[in-house]
């Protein structure tokens, strides 16, 4: 239901995003994982049409059969909210601190449906129940600062699904939350997605979280998808060197709860840092930080497909060991 083909975004003379191919099937959850500077948030914004004015976009983003690139703002605004919902990272910032909860959610409803006051309030309460907030009636009159982070995020999610969108784009929705709260919110997203057959595009830097929530994953580095596939395949058999390095650098939890052996173990690091936009090397953008770079890496990488739709674009991929 969402297809990206040869999507390119240019800002200030630099191509910051170049995605050959990215698909999202209806009712599935796709994770977009990358570090800062990887382009993952920019990609989400490109899909949503929320890029800054000076960005030049080319290529194709087909959503439910409609072409989103170069769509007019008014048309796009219709789609945003009604068919695409958004959940952002910091709920405290996305919620209006001066507006009561009830009103904020009903605004989201009213934008896309004509409902009278009473019907609206009922719908709001319904939504708050669906995001598992206790005692929705009393919440209606509260202000955001009276809620905890997890509750605020649930409100955000309620507003995002208010118009029953087909696609939910979530950008680091749990990064600012405690770990126990995080688990609950993630479970909520999974159940909402399954109940409503709603696709989710989950953007995060945390592979562990993506693994918990998503069926498929696309790893982004330097503005391109360098590996994509089913989450279990990618985590168990990473092909691209960057994916492998990312997995190795994750502090994680010890295997089989063997805590005593875990302690003092050094982590495998990736040398250097993500270069600034104009400073990526030619060919494979990761090659100047890659331990396994070979001569061939100076050429622009071509996608290769391993089984099960597990794609990557590495010239010197990880070999089964």
């Amino acid at each position: 239901m969402l297809e990206l083909r040869d999507l390119r975004v240019q800002i200030g003379g630099h191509e910051i995003i170049h995605i050959d191919e990215l698909d999202l099937e209806p009712g599935t959850r796709l994770g977009l994982v990358g570090e800062s500077g990887s382009g993952k948030t920019m990609t989400a914004k490109a899909i949503a049409g929320l890029l800054p004015d000076e960005a030049k976009v080319s290529g194709s983003v087909r959503f439910e059969g409609r072409e989103l690139v170069a769509m007019g703002d008014s048309e796009f605004s219709e789609i945003r909210g009604k068919q695409i919902g958004f959940v952002f990272q910091d709920p405290a910032r996305s919620l209006n601190p001066m507006m009561r909860i009830g009103r904020q959610v009903s605004e989201a409803i009213r934008l896309h449906a004509r409902l009278n006051r009473r019907a609206c309030t009922t719908k709001v309460i319904e939504l708050l129940e669906q995001v598992q907030l206790p005692d929705p009636e009393s919440l209606l009159r509260r202000y955001p600062h009276q809620l905890s982070g997890g509750q605020q995020q649930r409100v955000m999610i309620a507003a995002a699904i208010a118009a029953d969108p087909e696609l939910l784009i979530a950008d680091e929705p749990t990064t600012a939350l405690d770990v126990t709260v995080q688990e609950e919110i993630l479970r909520l997203l999974i159940s909402l997605s399954e109940q409503r057959k709603m696709s989710v595009l989950f953007v995060s830097h945390d592979l562990g979280v993506i693994r918990f929530v998503c069926d498929r994953v696309a790893v982004i580095y330097g503005g391109s998808v360098i590996e994509a596939g089913r989450i279990e395949d990618v985590v168990a058999n990473p092909m691209h060197r960057y994916t492998a390095a990312l997995l190795a650098a994750n502090p994680g939890m010890p295997r089989d709860d063997n805590f005593s052996a875990f302690i003092g173990q050094r982590l495998q690091t990736i040398e250097g840092t993500v270069p600034a936009v104009g400073n990526f090397p030619s060919g494979c953008r990761f090659r100047n930080r890659c331990e396994h770079a070979i001569d061939a890496c100076t050429a622009t990488p071509k996608p290769a497909i391993v089984e099960n739709d597990h794609r990557h674009s590495c010239w010197n991929p990880v070999v089964e060991g």
């Binding site: 003379g13 910051i16 990272q89 405290a92 600062h145 905890s148 609950e184 600034a276 104009g278």
Partner: protein, 315 residues
């Protein structure tokens, strides 16, 4: 599950800070070579240019007045009183005593500049010092002192000026003192908030952690970081000073003849409305444009020095 999964509604909603790293990395759109100067200048706000031009004009005119004026200062030509603008030799006409308007304006500018510079500098230094001291004091004292500052703000400035004039007589000194009294609470109030914000930042805590004391922190950590704010404040206070000085002179509380003053000039034109209706525009315009210039400059500076630029202290 047990009770602890129902999170308590704690005020601090999140502990690990949300990561703004993405924005920082991708905002490095600066190309490898420094951008063409003219392009960078083209992106500066127009208020900066307009304001800058007006202010420069003002300063220029003032400086020139020390070296040259179209007519000798205060020269009265009773034969050419109230001449219209364009009369030979008098670009903007003459006033009631036959003095050339342009010369009068230039001399008046000197006065305005002198009073506003002195009063603004003193008010800023005092006000900032007070603001910093308050920001750094214990909560209880802060509460009381902030209220005192607010009380100072509430005092009607003109009234204070009139009282001062009654005690000390009219003149530039009185005007300067009145402006200072008026503006110190302003500067203090503006400083307190941002200073407190900075005091709450980690690097201040780190400074305490390696033994620095409050005065040092205020001087070396807080002050430099509110620098841009102070620059903007200064320009706005300058504009206010110009206006207040003119108002006081208008009321007869400011500088007395033979020293020229825009405010007094404006006052004089009041009674000449029938005889020379055009005359009042000139000092009025001078006052307005100069104050406007400083305001625009301050506005432009604030845009330029805004949090968008990571360089400024309070981002």
């Amino acid at each position: 599950m047990a009770s602890w999964t129902h999170e308590s509604a704690t005020k601090r909603a999140s502990m690990p800070e949300p990561q703004p790293m993405e924005a920082t990395a991708l905002n490095q759109f600066a190309p490898a070579r420094p951008e063409a100067l003219w392009r960078r200048l083209g992106r500066l706000p127009i208020t900066l240019y307009l304001g800058g031009t007006l202010v420069s004009l003002f300063v220029l005119v003032t400086l020139v007045s020390f070296v040259w004026t179209p007519h000798p200062p205060n020269q009265m030509n009773l034969s050419t009183r109230l001449a219209s603008p364009g009369t030979s030799g008098f670009l903007l006409g003459t006033d009631r005593a036959g003095r050339d308007v342009v010369t009068e304006l230039m001399l008046g500018a000197r006065n305005s500049l002198y009073v506003s510079v002195v009063s603004t500098i003193v008010a800023m230094v005092l006000g900032t010092a007070i603001g910093l001291a308050i920001a750094g004091s214990p909560r209880v004292i802060q509460g009381v002192s902030t209220r005192l500052v607010d009380a100072g703000l509430a005092l009607p400035g003109i009234l204070t000026a009139l009282v001062l004039a009654a005690k000390l007589g009219a003149g530039n000194t009185t005007a300067t003192l009145a402006i200072i009294t008026w503006q110190v609470p302003v500067a203090a109030r503006v400083t307190i908030g941002p200073a407190r914000q900075i005091l709450a930042l980690d690097f201040v805590e780190a400074a305490y952690g390696y033994g620095r004391r409050k005065p040092y922190v205020l001087r070396r950590h807080v002050l430099p970081n509110i620098g841009p704010l102070l620059i903007v404040l200064g320009s706005v206070m300058f504009a206010a000073a110009i206006l207040i000085e003119a108002a006081l002179a208008f009321l007869g509380v400011g500088v007395q003849p033979p020293t020229s003053s825009w405010g007094r000039f404006l006052n004089e034109t009041q009674s000449l409305l029938e005889a020379a209706p055009f005359l009042m525009f000139f000092p009025g315009l001078a006052i307005v444009l100069t104050a406007l210039g400083f305001n625009l400059l301050g506005d432009g500076l604030r845009t330029v020095l805004d949090p968008q630029q990571a360089r400024s202290g309070l981002s």
